[in-house]
Amino acid sequence: MLQFILKRLGLAVLVALTVSFISFSLLFLSGDPAAALAGETASGEDIEALRRVYGFDRPMLVQYGEWLWQALQGNFGESYYFKLPVASLIADRLSVTMTLGVCGITFALLTAVPLGVAAAIKPNSLIDRVALFLSVAGQAMPSFWFGLILIVLFGIQLGWLPPSGASTWRHFIMPTIVLGYYAMPAIMRLTRAGMLEVLNSDYIRTARAKGAGEGRVLFKHALRNAIIPVVSLAAVQMGFMLGGSIVVESVFALHGAGYLAWESIARNDLPTVQALILIFSMFYIIFTFLADVLNAWLDPRMRSS
């Protein structure tokens, strides 16, 4: 188990380093970052000056090393646009995104797991068909459009919920639904498939032969086994959701890290963009690492090996 964790941790660190290098390299994608920074009207001298100020004249690997060294200490440089340290800029916005992410994955799990279980208990029943319809629709629904529809319907026509902003918990209801619905189909399908498989297994028959009631069979014996792969998927989806919060936050004008990413990209604020890509990647890496460890712990076959 410990060996597994260490091995998995090593992989996580390696992935994180590679991602950091890629996100740093984005800066050089345009060819000359100094020229991009200076804008189209700048003179050659201005560009040269900028190049020296920002250190773009040094070899790329040296720049990467220094950026990484600073980033490890929590220093991501200064935002070109906001003229503030990137780290504090992001720190201010992260709580909104994290709240949204946690609410979103909770909403997704609370709808997807019961639906998946119910669908697996009675395949081809009405509830199975409803679940299938919801998941097929969810996979085809553009989330920005779904958000706009909710705003028009509940925010404006019915006036039940505030259409944008982040000041109260009610502001988070619609974004949570949109973001959660994005993750729901995959979780629902995996729960359903897992439950179907487990319910057909020999040990479920054993449990019934012991005289266990249906509730006990379903939840103690079946779900406990079927939920193991769902944990990993939920972590992966959580990582994807934080990355996808950029769309939802911009639709609902939630000023979180996703919204910041959108603003910074639109304004060519590269240090902020680099830092955000790295941070969102790190979230994904941490979540999947934790999920793998949790998974190994939930599955006795892995725990004891």
């Binding site: 984005l26 345009s30 097929v136 085809a140 459009w145 990582g239 769309v247 060519n268």
Partner: protein
């Protein structure tokens, strides 16, 4: 053999339908697949025949005729789906938008399909270090937030159709690699692969003539699903203003442009969104249907 050749009802019906008949029966019995294929075909024909079918020039502005309502909301047949904020015919833009979506979806899925399949098959076939490297690259790719990276790259390189296609093609290969790796692993253990290797077939030959035909089913399914994925992402990028640039008619862009008038003219947002939803739904149903119909575990 003591098996008596008597005409006995118990011995009948031993010969069943042949595989092609089974497949046909399964295809015609799969409503989702039929719906998906039908809708995709219709939209494909509309996209190809756009210049013939579109009633107006999708770029022609007419500021005197802005935001005319669609015919079902009291408009006229001159503009069946009304006009947008610049007086352009909405139906014509929608029709040309199908071209953008289908083009981006197809080409991006092809690019990522080539990359992902090459990586996945290599990993599954060679195993060892190749597999370790590919698995690592898949992990790295999955860790990068797609929307964010795509937006950043499009912002740096400029939002042309080619850039959007290229970025999506280079980003969406992960599922191809994952599935093709798993399928190859499964197939390469089969006897016919060992047989081909035993008679001295070269590695490329074994891969092309023994492995590929047996994983093609899965590949086709992933191609359709990733096509849908690319179409949705393009729409999201264009909606955020960092995808296909105006005045190109893209459905995501049309939603974005209609957003400001959403309170008064919600149909400006509704119509392109519904069309986008239907296209993606149809492609997904087609992919799911293909998987159901061809999945080996369904073969009796």
């Amino acid at each position: 053999m003591a098996l008596q050749r008597i005409a006995d009802p118990l011995l009948e019906e031993i010969t069943g339908p042949n595989p092609r008949q089974i497949l046909r029966k399964r295809v015609t019995g799969h409503a989702g697949l039929l719906f998906g294929v039908g809708v995709v075909l219709v939209l494909l024909i509309i996209a190809i025949l756009a210049p013939v079918l579109a009633p107006h020039d999708p770029y022609a502005q007419n500021l005197a005729n802005r935001m005319v309502k669609p015919v079902f909301m009291g408009g006229t047949w001159e503009h069946p789906l009304g006009t947008d904020h610049l007086g352009r015919d909405y139906l014509s833009r929608l029709i040309y938008g199908a071209r953008v979506s289908l083009l981006i979806g197809t080409v991006a899925a092809l690019i990522s399909g080539v990359i992902g399949t090459a990586m996945g098959v290599a990993a599954g076939y060679f195993g060892g270090k190749v597999d370790a490297v590919v698995t690592f690259l898949i992990n790295v790719r999955l860790a990068m937030p797609v929307v964010l990276v795509a937006l950043a790259v499009v912002a740096i390189l400029g939002g042309s159709l080619q850039v959007v296609i290229g970025v999506l093609g280079l980003l969406l290969w992960d599922r191809f690699a994952v599935v093709m790796r798993a399928s190859t692993l499964q197939v390469r253990r089969r006897e016919y692969v060992a047989a081909a290797q035993a008679i001295g077939a070269s590695t490329p030959r074994v891969i092309l003539s023994e492995i590929m035909p047996n994983i093609a089913n899965n590949l086709i399914v992933i191609v359709t699903l990733e096509m849908a994925h690319a179409i949705l992402l393009e729409a999201a990028l264009s909606f955020l203003g960092l995808g296909v640039q105006p005045p190109t008619p893209s459905w995501g862009l049309m939603v974005s442009e209609g957003k400001n008038m959403m309170l008064f003219e919600p149909w400006l947002v509704l119509i392109p969104g519904i069309v986008l939803f239907i296209l993606v739904l149809a492609i997904n149903l087609m992919g799911d249907g293909l998987r159901d119909v061809t999945a080996p575990e369904n073969r009796s």
